[in-house]
Symmetry: none
Subunit: 247 residues, 2 copies
DNA sequence: AGGCTTGCGTAACATCATGTAACAAAAGGC
DNA sequence: GCCTTTTGTTACATGATGTTACGCAAGCCT
């Protein structure tokens, strides 16, 4: 893929240039925009791979702009907002944003999100794995979702608990994409592998779960190669995954 | 099934319209309601498949409304609440809510729950097997409902007790569908295989029954392959079932 | 480099759901 | 009625999952 072209939309001049600079320093082509007009100008003028859109623009509501843009063309959008309250997040998704980041954010996290969305846009995959797919291969391993069996490269069966299996599925559906603990927890909920789980936030269940899965699928759990830690962010599954539809 | 019709009950206008919109965008027919009266109006006016009910309405308590509705007719209800404290969750279930979601919630999670509840409500009607069908084959086994005989893949007869047989029938009628203990217990009642069964809830009769059936039809009851446990949910029968009408 | 702060890994414990043996209560058959 | 079979209950063992606490490592500042 060519160098990704991003638009940074924010009404605060300082934030705007800061983000733009930061993204440029990290290998992206970023353009600052202040108004919807500027956005449209860029959209007409050439390829735009992703828009970073502040929710709280002076005159207009970012969510509405996002909704409007979405209707017109299919540009990935990440909403940025000072309000981390989740009902705003909901509005964002509702409107079709690809992701949502709360200000102030960790720069690394921003990069991770941007990469993830670009990556996803490229393959149009979502967080949750597709149903029709049920056989996964990765790094010599083999996972059959139908029988719920995991086979090591050496060919012997490894028993995974339900949660471990669920985690593996989430990872397999998002190779090379850094996932935060919250995203993982949500995905586990959505796949229905965790019913009575409270909305998360307190404990470190995900960390422990990751540790347990590592113990079963990593050659040396002490220096993981498949399920790596992204310090300050979460975890990434670093393996190429091939899938086979089963029906 | 036709497009599901949902009621969104919340006293906050914004939340109400937001959820309604969101659900509509995802293929549901959703109607905003503010008061119990509005709910009743819809209930009388036409089919309602599911009610999303906020627990903290201004004047009334959602839990109480839920209890009242439940007494009158059998509409599935999902309680929504800002209070994630577990005792509220418990109250919800006590009162007969089908599920419970804490605000703020992940939109995907909401959809998942809604679908799950609808799915459940939808199939409870078909829990009982059809009469005309009386020969079942599954994983090499053969069950003749007329003669009440079960034959193993190796060809010898296995004697099942009445309850075991009833359980098997329920499972055969619902392959690949996870059933809760309550659903199973109810289905057993309906098939007339259990008359004086107490109102349920206390003991673990289903667990023991499942164990006994496993002992007869599983190769290795310790690691069941046909009658599997869904932790936190119930049991699933994981085998393809073919049936033959017997006229 | 050294010290401080933060995030992560993980052992040890707490909790909860399930499996099941052993017993008790019912239901039938004679 | 007495015995046999079936079904339900209880109690305990087991295994899965969540929580907590502590130590280590990575980054950061000086």
């Amino acid at each position: 893929m060519a160098i990704p072209r991003l638009l940074v939309v924010d009404d605060d001049a300082e934030t705007r240039s800061m983000m733009t600079q930061f993204l440029q320093q990290n290998g992206f082509m970023a353009f600052p925009c202040e108004t919807e007009d500027t956005i449209r100008h860029h959209l007409k003028g050439g390829r735009v791979d992703l828009i970073l859109l502040d929710v709280m623009l002076a005159d207009e509501n970012g969510v509405e702009i996002c909704a409007r843009l979405r209707k017109e063309q299919d540009v990935p959008v990440i909403l940025v907002s000072a309000l981390s309250a989740d009902h705003h997040r909901m509005k964002g998704y509702e409107v079709g944003a690809d992701d949502y980041i709360a200000k102030p954010f960790n720069p690394e996290l921003l990069l991770a999100r941007v990469r993830a969305v670009l990556h996803r846009a490229n393959r149009s995959a979502s967080l949750v794995y597709r149903r029709s797919v049920s056989v996964f291969r990765f790094a010599g391993w083999h996972y059959d979702a139908k029988r719920d069996e995991v086979t090591s490269p050496q060919g012997y069966q490894v028993a995974l608990s339900r949660k471990e299996t669920a985690l593996l599925k989430v990872l397999l559906a998002n190779p090379h994409i850094p996932l935060t603990r919250d995203e993982i927890a949500n995905a586990l909920d959505v796949t229905g592998e965790a019913q009575g789980t409270p909305p998360e936030g307190s404990g470190r269940a995900i960390d422990v779960l990751v540790g347990r899965l590592r113990g079963k699928i990593e050659t040396d759990p002490k220096s993981p190669e498949l399920l790596r830690t992204e310090r300050g962010i979460g975890y990434v599954f670093t393996a190429d995954v091939t899938t086979e539809d089963s029906a």
